[in-house]
Amino acid sequence: MRLRKLEITGFKSFREKVVVDFSPGISGIVGPNGCGKSNIADAIRWVMGEQRVRTLRGKRMEDVIFNGSEEVAPVGMAEVSMMLAADEQKFQGNYAECSEVMITRRLFREGESEYTINKIPCRLLDVREFFMGTGVGARTYSLVEQNSVAALVEAKPEERRQFIEEAA
């Protein structure tokens, strides 16, 4: 399976819709401090079902909705869509026949997150089970946060055990 495309609208500093078309191989994401690179990483975690607001650097989940700049007003909704394509590794379960799967997460202010898979509404649990099947879900070692690396070597033995258990 590979990551084909990411569409980000109203999520953190991405007020306007931004489409990231990923190619195979190594993708470098670059730019000055504060321009939005880690926000793209947050968008990926968020659409995959991340519920821990602290991991997304927020205080409330509503913090991920674009809340305005000096000149521009906040918006009322954040939406992230991730397009995945099957390759030698096929999708599992209900999606075994699909060559592409699109996961979307949407959040309105004062609302709860809404999820769709291939435009069909579903629950957070369905999104998580889908990613479990692909091998990226719950594998925190595959999504490495900024400034988190060195701590891994100094982690408590129990934490290191948990980290390794995810590969089971």
């Binding site: 991405f14 993708s27 470098g28 670059v30 926000n39 999504l143 033995p157 290191r160």
Partner: protein
Amino acid sequence: SRKRFSETFEGVNRCFREVFTRLFPGGRAELLLTDESDLLETGVDIDIRIPGKRAQNVTLLSGGEKSLSAIALIFSILLYRPVPFLLLDEVDASLDDTNISLFNRLVKETVSHSQILMITHNKLTMEIADSLYGVTMPKQGISTLVSVNLN
């Protein structure tokens, strides 16, 4: 289950010993169980010997040595259990140029198993990318994507 953890531990450890020497030629590293008699509750310790130095408390290592050792551990788990795509946010921040080259070489060896997304400020790391995505804010506070030319 005990058996499953034991297999995972052994597999990751085998990969870790090997991947570590790719980033630290001449060095050695090992994962250790804190309590071998209790596989359900045991913690995992880490033993690291930097090339030419003696194994010591992992806390005494330098900032760059800790980062590179952690990268070795992460990539050894990826070797044991590959994932479809991988996202690394500035993991090269503390590394000097020599270590960045070793890290980049490891990334190129890993990309056959996985698609790799790397956020970086480092020009050497940018050079190994197959595609580059520039993020900028021409309107202050609003992010947009631009194409990037490496000069």
